[in-house]
Structure formats: structure tokens, C-alpha cells
Symmetry: C2
Subunit: 472 residues, 2 copies
């Protein structure tokens, strides 16, 4: 199982690989690493896809390092794979054809903060937590929060989003411009610091979500926001998933600018009660966050409370005190660990889909029914304001029968989402794991177009081969 | 002057053109039009670029019409130019190599409205006013307002924006998915109705702003919003452009979700006073609109009033009554006509640039100085929340000396914006008029990438040739 759809990748000739690694060693000295442990660590994927390590890892420190790695690899036709923090979920950093991994974690400088313009210029290895730490004194923050402390280069490359996206958008809405190292080592500049532009093809968005298959991002200009004056957290239980989804739809439709709105299904609440010693009603739970002035946040909360009551919500709790907010959101913060604790030693496979919000209740409910039918354990957490939800499938990787049912479940989940007008992934990306679903979602013509773009910008197929676009 | 940079376009062979038009006549009957008046009307550009009419116009009614036009034109290697309402400003609908114009105005059906999902599916010829008329009963609206009653297909293709963009984004943020007829007449589907997706290359954004050079948009899925409960309009005069810009920066930075914030410079206010019989102080004026609940709108207005006072603003007027709002915004609504009236018979050339907001005051002030130095008349209106502003240059097209100064002015305007980290166009697009500025803005590598994309998706160069990407 867990095929990687990498039939269009071929390993470089051994002599070519040897020559490339010699050239890299001469250029980078001990910043070129070929030990097995380090190579495996750089292909580690938080999924059930098998690890496919690169042949070597280069620790990049500055843009010329990336340029030289790409030039050397291009000369010898050796694959180049960009690596941020390794928190992608669909095999994005695997090296099915071997090649050279560029580790960008040391390219972690914030190059400029333009507070008046609400933007900053950073290197790709800056993580979101490090950036927000850097920005805090200036009253600014970067709103995209995928959970993991991922690098901004990686978040851009996978078009990441997360809990805040319902208000602030995803990486798609928050990257202004990129510098990208192309196949000959030269640098493409995709845009300016202007908030908007109608100047030519949108190269910025072409590289956002390209998973490093069209070039290596060496610099980013991203949008920032002012830290809100007041943050309120709220929680409300519902008898059914449908009630929680209906409340979400009404909140969005009436324009409440909710900053986060997360659904935990009954199974997830139960797992959290057990792990975090909480006593929440074991029914679907919505957790919310509101950002704004004191007056705005109070009004948003009041409006949502009315909507929740109308949709069969139970007690509505809310607070603006930081320590109480943390307590109220405890279940969400511990969600991952609570799932891990359900069956110690078993694996947890995270997968995501996204549907039009009107179909969300149907999609979650049918998914719960399917889990029961297949006798599988998978709590569900959703960024429901966007129609996006995750299943955390608890699976014993050595149990063939369970894994087969798990694979059937994931196939059916994607088909269900697509049949409802949705997508096979809202935020985890295609990588290797979801290539097989692209054609059903967009049709063969879209795949033709993607293949044509790949050939146009990476004619040698050296950038992260075997990802996104399945072999023709 | 007004060169069109179309050196890479060649007219089709006369025999090929004749064969194509015969085939189109057989297929479309009297929906194929070749009269000079209709052809010229379809190349009419609201700019000083010379009109370059197509050889024929086809009135499309359904998607298969577009497919057949493209197939016939591709077979004979004849250019195809999509036409919405002809309100583009940089020669986007000119036909420098002749060819066939597809007029999409009869493809004006709203195919589906999904109120719960806040999206709708439309044909490309639907105009924004017709769409908003259609949506009103459901309490929904489409927020992008470029001024003209443009078609949504055209607005997508030029990545249009306008006064509401500061709150709701541009077409870039409001198109979910497209169907696009490619060179062999088949249809590319670029996305789903899911609010967000990480599924492969972002084909949607590649076609947004491509000005019809990569294919013809045959269907759009776009985002809608709920009509706000309350709309407030406000006005405030400032002694200097700098004061008005500083107030704008502070409003954005403190997170006031202003829906529109428009600057009229002193010359524009003077023109409006004269044309609309107003008695506004002839100094820079900010006009604002706030959307939200009654409480929110009141608080936003109050917060902005405090900021304006801090930045040297004069009397702050605001209202939520529809008739008073219209009166307060009178100057803005009449801006175009007030400029036309400044010198009856003369032309008005509209041009736009966009800079990081911190540089806006510098850019507008230096531009005003340049106008004085060159003895030119050009009121300025700005979507200042985005750092975007327009010059409406009043020019006698038969006066060679004045036109030469006008051209010098526009060159210097673009260079100024680019030197401040901005773009040569925030919302009008590249078309023919601004091709010469792309290289200075993004560098030769970005142009290489754009050329590669054009070749990849339109290898025959039949889609709107001679636009966006200058000849190599």
C-alpha cells in the first residue's frame, strides 16, 4: 500500500551523482552531509509513506549556496529537494529518485520589517514562531498558523493555512513576492512590495503551492497584521455536527469576522477528555476566537451566542483573559497528543479534505458513518469556517487488514469530498500521497496544463521530481 | 509616441484568414460580423493607444461557440481576442495582428448562486452591476468595483480591483475557479468550489490577469459577501497629501476594516467643485466607507475621526443615510466627468501605479511637482488604502508638444513608483501600453518565465498576441 506514484522519476547515473557530490563537497566542505542518519531525517514524513532519503544534504546559509547547489545538480542532472522543517504530510520531502536535499533552516534571517506597510522580507528558513517572536515588540504578527512550527518557505511551498485562515486567508493571500532560484541558478523575482499589481502573469501564485517542483524559494516578502487589541476565546457544544456546521454557516454569512472556528467531533472531544482530564460533554464542540477592539469582540461574541442558541448549541462560554483562553482551548491544543494516546505505539495518519461549507455537515457525518462501518478509529478536527477538516486515523502499521481498511477509508473520504464539489486537500498538499486524486478533481486538461508548466520552468525535471503531477 | 511594443506579432497569411472567416461564417451565420464600425468598436480602447481593429467579430452565446471559434482560428493560425465590455485601459482588446474577436456580452447568465457557500457560478459576460442586481434579493453582493460596469470575465483577465479592494481584495482574492478554453478547444478546469485548496499548481491565478493571452475564460466561480447591515460614508479634508496618507496608514495599521478610502488631491477637488457645484475646501480630501453592524460602523468611524484629528484633518463628516452618503461621495462619483469638463474636446488619459503605502505621500507629492514642472493638468484620485493611485492626464491629442510632455510624465511616474518598491500598474494591467516597463520592474528572469508560460500554454501564439509579454 501507500504507493508513491513516482513512476516518472529515474535515479541519476551513478557517475553523474558521484561527480555532483564531489563538486558539492569541494564547494561546501562539511556543510555537505552524507551520513545515513541525516539523510533519513531529511526524508522523514509524518505520514505512512515510506521514507526515501536523498543521497546528500547541503546546509545552505545564503542565497549563493542555493544557486551553487542548483547549478551543480543541473549540470549533472541530479534532483534537488528543498527542506524546511520536515513537517509536511504527503511525502513532499521524500527523494524517490535520490538527489541532493538543500536544508534551509540556517537561512533564518528576517531581512527587513516594514511596519507602516505591514510587510516583511525574510529568508525561507524563518519559522512562523521565530517570526512572531521577532515581530511582537512592534505590535505585529503573521497570522497563518498550521499548527507545526513550520518554515515560511515550506508553508509557502505547500500553500499552508490552518486555524486562522477563515479570517486572514492562507499563504495564497499572504505572500506578496518571492525570489526563486531557477534551473540555471539565476533568480526570478516574482513581484514587488506593492499590495496589489496587475503587471503580467502571476508568478508569485505559481510558486506558492508548487512544493519546490518549479524552483527553490530563496526570499519571501509576506504580509503582516497588527496584533489585535483584544482576543476573545469561546466554546460551545452542540448535539449534532449539523447544528455546529449550521452555526458556522450563519456566522460566516452574517459577516462575523471570526478569527478561528474549530470543530471537534464527539470522538475527538472524548479523546481530549481522557488525555487532558477535561469534563466536556462528549458531543460536537465548536471553539472560537474573536479579534478586534473590546467593543467589536464583545459584539462578535454576543452575535455568535445568539446564532449558536438558534442552532441548538448548549452553554456558550467566552473569555478575554489569556489564561482562561488557554484553558478553554485546551482540548484543541492537545488534540494531536490525545489521539496519539488513544492507542500507544500505533501510528496516526493525518489526512485532510475541504468542501463547500454547505456540504460540510453531510461530509463529516458520512465520514463518521464510514469509520464506524469500517471499524476504524479517527477523531475529526475541522477548520470549519473554510469547510476544511482533518481525520487523524489511528492505525497499527503492522496490521495489514487494518491498513487496508484505512486506505479504503481515505480513498472514500477524498471521493466523498470531490463529489460534493470539494478538493482532495485543503492544506496538506499533493506531494506523493495525493497525486492519484488530481485527475478526478480537475480533469485531464488541468493535468496537461500542470505538466506543461513543469516542463516550461523545469525542463530538466531536477526540482523535487515525482511530486504533485503524476506521470502521464 | 504611444508605441505598442507589438514587434512579435505578425498578421496571418491572407489565405489562412480568408479560410478561417469562411469557416466561421458557415458556423455562425450573422453572428459573424465584419463591418468596419463593429470591428473598430471592438478595438476601442479608452486610452491614447491607436485603435487596431480585428478582422471579424463573433457574437458568442454559449461555451461551444468559444470552443469552435478557437478551433477554427487555431487550425488557420489566426489570433483570437476575447472581448467583454471594452473598458480596459491599456489596449488589451486591440488586434495588432488582426484576427477574430469573440464578443462575450451575450454569455451573461448567472448559472448558480450558492448563498450558504457565498459563491456563484457565472458566464464571463455577466457585468458586475447585473450580477449585483441579480444577487440583491438574497442579501448578497460581489464586492469588486472598478468603476466601469465591466464584465466579470474581463475583470478577471485584467486582475481588476477598485475602491473596495482595501477591504475585500481584488479579483485575485475573489475568483475561486475558472473554466478556460485552451488552444485545441478543450476546456481546462482550474479549481473547485472549496474555499481553499492545496491541490497542485495554482492554475486559477495563472489565468487571473493573463489578459486572454493563455486561453479564453468560459465560466467563473466567484466569491460573494453578505450585504452589510449598515454602511456609513465619511469625508475629511487635510491640509496636505502627507496628512491624508498618514491617517490612511494609521487606519490600516490599527486594523480599522475600512471598506473604501479614497484620496482626491487638491486639483481633483477643485475640478469637482467646479463641475458638481460643490464648495469643498480645495485641499486633499479623503472619502471613506465603513461596512458592518450599526455598532461596528459607529466605532470604526469614531476611531478614524480620532486618527484624522491627530494627522491634521479638518472637519469629519459622516452619515449612514443612503441619500446623504451619495451626496458626501458626490465628488468621487463625478471625478471622471469633472476631469473631462476641465478642457472640453481634449482627451483624458488614465494611468495608474501602486506603491507601498509608506511611500504613497512621497509618490503623490513628487508626481504633483512633476506635473507643475511639465505644465500638465492631471487631477489625482487614489485607492490609498492599497497605495494605488490614478492620474487623469488632460491632453490635446493633436498637440505634439503637450503629448510629448505627457509621455515623459507617464514614464517618470512609472519609474518613480518602481524606484519606491512599487509596480507600474496596480489595476489597469499591462496590455500594450505598459510592456516596456515590465523588465525594469521584475527583471529579465521573470520575463523569461512569462515567455516560457506563454509558449507552454499557447504554443501557436493565437491568444491575444502582442499583449503583456514584450518580444524577446
Amino acid at each position: 500500500m501507500a504507493t508513491t506514484n513516482s513512476s516518472d522519476v529515474t535515479r541519476p547515473e551513478p557517475q553523474a551523482l558521484k561527480s555532483a557530490i564531489e563538486a558539492l563537497a569541494a564547494r561546501f566542505g562539511n556543510r555537505l552531509v552524507t551520513s545515513q542518519a541525516v539523510r533519513e531525517q531529511h526524508a522523514h514524513t509524518t505520514t505512512w509513506l515510506p521514507t526515501q532519503p536523498p543521497d546528500a544534504v547541503v546546509m545552505a546559509q545564503e542565497t549563493p549556496d542555493i544557486q551553487d547547489v542548483v547549478r551543480i545538480c543541473a549540470k549533472h542532472r541530479v534532483p534537488v529537494i528543498a527542506f524546511g522543517t520536515g513537517t509536511s504530510l504527503e511525502g513532499q520531502v521524500n527523494a524517490p529518485a535520490g538527489g541532493v536535499c538543500i536544508d534551509l533552516r540556517d537561512m533564518n534571517k528576517v531581512l527587513a520589517v516594514h511596519a507602516e506597510d505591514l510587510d516583511c522580507v525574510i529568508q525561507p528558513g524563518v519559522t512562523r514562531k521565530a517570526l512572531n517572536e521577532h515581530l511582537r515588540d512592534q505590535g505585529l504578527f503573521f497570522p497563518i498558523d498550521p499548527g507545526a512550527d513550520a518554515s515560511l518557505g515550506g508553508m509557502t511551498s505547500t500553500r499552508a493555512s490552518g486555524t486562522n485562515a477563515v479570517r486572514y486567508g492562507t499563504m495564497r493571500e499572504n505572500v506578496l513576492a518571492l525570489k526563486v532560484v531557477r534551473g540555471d541558478g539565476e533568480i526570478i523575482t516574482t513581484g514587488t512590495r506593492a499590495k496589489k499589481s496587475a503587471a503580467g502573469y502571476d508568478l508569485t501564485h505559481l510558486f506558492i503551492g508548487a512544493e519546490g517542483t518549479l524552483g527553490i524559494i530563496s526570499e519571501l516578502t509576506i504580509r503582516l497584521r497588527g496584533i489585535p487589541e483584544t482576543i476573545a476565546a469561546a466554546a460551545c457544544s452542540f448535539e449534532t455536527v449539523r447544528g455546529a456546521c449550521q452555526a458556522t454557516i450563519m456566522a460566516i454569512q452574517t459577516g462575523i469576522p471570526v478569527a478561528r472556528i474549530e470543530l471537534l467531533n464527539a470522538a475527538q472531544v472524548k479523546a481530549c477528555n481522557s488525555y487532558s482530564k477535561l469534563s466536556l460533554p462528549e458531543t460536537p464542540l465548536l471553539l472560537l476566537e474573536f479579534h478586534g477592539s473590546e467593543v467589536e469582540v464583545a459584539e462578535q461574541s454576543k452575535n455568535f451566542r445568539d446564532i449558536a442558541a438558534e442552532c441548538g448549541g448548549g452553554e456558550f462560554t467566552w473569555t478575554t483573559k489569556p489564561e482562561d483562553r488557554t484553558r478553554l482551548w485546551q482540548a484543541r491544543h492537545d488534540a494531536y497528543w490525545s489521539v496519539k494516546a488513544l492507542r500507544p505505539g500505533a501510528g496516526v495518519v493525518a489526512t485532510d479534505v475541504c468542501v463547500p461549507i454547505s456540504r460540510l455537515a453531510d461530509c463529516v457525518t458520512e465520514t463518521e458513518d464510514d469509520l464506524a462501518r469500517l471499524d476504524l478509529l479517527s477523531p475529526i478536527v475541522g477548520h470549519v469556517g473554510d469547510g476544511n477538516f482533518h481525520c487523524s486515523l489511528v492505525c497499527d502499521i503492522d496490521n495489514k487488514d487494518e491498513m487496508a481498511r484505512g486506505e479504503e477509508f481515505m480513498h472514500r473520504l477524498v471521493e466523498r469530498a470531490q463529489s460534493m464539489g470539494g478538493t482532495c486537500t485543503g492544506e496538506h498538499g499533493i506531494g506523493q500521497g495525493k497525486q492519484k486524486y488530481l485527475k478526478a478533481e480537475l480533469g485531464p486538461e488541468a493535468l496537461d496544463a500542470m505538466r506543461a508548466l513543469k516542463r516550461a520552468l523545469d525542463p530538466q525535471n531536477i526540482f523535487n521530481p515525482g511530486k504533485i503531477v503524476p506521470a502521464a
